[in-house]
Subunit: 294 residues, 2 copies
């Protein structure tokens, strides 16, 4: 039974959509509550927002593994904020909040995507329900192979959680279409939790198409480690479409086309995501999977 839900926005300070959705919901809280549970909101990183940056010192969404939360010597703005949020919603391990919905956006052409980081019947049914109610949503899985306490996402504070990830939208911009898709998807997730709580989940499709994270790949670099290329235009905006062996991935600034050299087809996500440039990452590679609902 899920009794306490938290909807979180602004975990990244320059992802405006969640931040303004929170303002909207805070003005009319009843639209995000349901009969069987309470919902609260949390603006996770207002300091980063006020500086119009993803984060001030550390990416807040990498600060929530148990070891970091317990280490009093970690005192950056985000490390301190993570401890505050853990006190507000957690503590991790014995959390007050049963379910976190963390709202994110991406500069990549991922459309409305539901990011699932855990396995289980609840998630397979949620994926089937969301796909049925909002067929344009992509289900993208990166299920935790490590213990939840070692997980660094904000959403790992609660035992169950999802991330809503919608794009494309530039950093520090609100797009009406992305705003609306994030809003509608969140409502469907809340509706599903209500149905689940009430033991009233309707008949769902037997299977759901989804993608599963394999690995991230990097942009080309020079011998000195400096960036030497960009996503090839044939791949730009082609999130969740097939990448075949031999297909162009990158164009270097000196004009060389770098192709995909894997043995079998994969799919990309977070293709040319602005925030990935910090670590010179180009995209995530995924495999296509089928989730069985029952």
């Amino acid at each position: 039974m899920i009794k306490q839900v938290a909807v979180v926005g602004g975990t990244h300070g320059n992802e405006f959509t969640g931040i303004y959705l929170l303002k909207k919901w805070e003005a009319e809280p009843k639209v995000i509550t349901r009969p069987s549970f309470n919902t609260e909101t949390l603006f996770a990183n207002p300091q980063a927002f006020s500086q119009n940056k993803r984060y001030v010192e550390h990416d807040l969404n990498r600060c929530f593994d148990q070891r970091h939360l317990e280490d009093d010597s970690l005192t950056s703005i985000e490390q301190v904020r993570a401890k505050e949020i853990n006190a507000l919603l957690g503590p991790k391990g014995q959390p007050r909040i049963d379910f976190i919905i963390d709202l994110h956006t991406t500069t990549s052409n991922m459309g409305p995507t539901l990011l699932i980081t855990q396995k289980g019947a609840f998630y397979n049914q949620l994926a089937a329900y969301i796909s049925m109610e909002m067929p344009e949503v992509i289900i993208s899985c990166d299920e935790d192979h490590k213990a939840n306490e070692d997980h660094h996402f904000l959403s790992s504070i609660s035992k169950n959680s999802v991330m809503v990830e919608v794009g494309p939208v530039p950093q520090s911009v609100i797009r009406h279409d992305v705003f609306e898709a994030s809003e509608v998807m969140t409502h469907h997730i809340l509706d599903f939790i209500e149905l689940y709580n009430q033991d009233a989940v309707p008949a769902l499709p037997e299977t759901t198409d989804a993608y599963r994270f394999i690995k991230s790949i990097s942009l080309p670099v020079n011998d000195d480690g400096s960036r030497n290329g960009m996503i090839h235009k044939d791949l730009q905006d082609k999130d969740f479409t097939e990448i075949k062996p031999g297909q162009p991935l990158f164009l270097t600034f000196d004009g060389e086309v770098v192709t995909y050299e894997g043995e079998k087809s994969v799919y990309g996500s977070f293709i040319n995501e602005a925030a990935y440039y910090d670590n010179n990452l180009a995209m995530s590679l995924l495999e296509k999977i089928t989730l069985k609902t029952y």
Copy 2:
């Protein structure tokens, strides 16, 4: 006769396209020189780039009016950098550089746009030439009604200049298509200068379709001045298309549609440009014009 050209990138530190184009050209300088003139490159705001921001303290592209350049009490990072750049390329009034091409990008769906800030036969012919060679380029004029010394753009250091403005691309991202369009447009501008210098400009179309800046308009705000709305989805990505009286411009977060209340149709540019949020601007409004080549 134009003898010295400067191609400038990174006037805004999070507009990566110009910065990486400069790296490419600096590795092979001959591609941007022509027989009748020399071309040099300038990376205008490396400090902002290293912080992954448009600017550190002040927008560098608002720091070049004569009064600011001569005021030694102005000591922010960009105010100091403006004086350095003025010494390198100028000094304004008697500049060493005859022509500046300043490379910019926008998060708006403006496609490849040539921004012209001066009137004259040279510019009308340049507009006609670029439109002939690269028909997808939009010509957008905001001709200076004030003396050049009062103009605050970096490009106002030289007597003649243009800005290359290409989108959509998120801040802090390189898109291959935007990179390529910026590169090709710059080459055409350099080719035109060469033809002009050699008195060899070919026969050009008699007229060129263009747009002229009228005014900027703001996003909706609450009584306390805080932002209360976003660009309506029907207008998003519709730069340089007609905005008719009565058409939706904005949606407020409480659900009200705000329409365009002008008496005659206009056209938008910089629609939902991320950098405009600092001043809560929504877009520029333009009128359609025809430039006569001769």
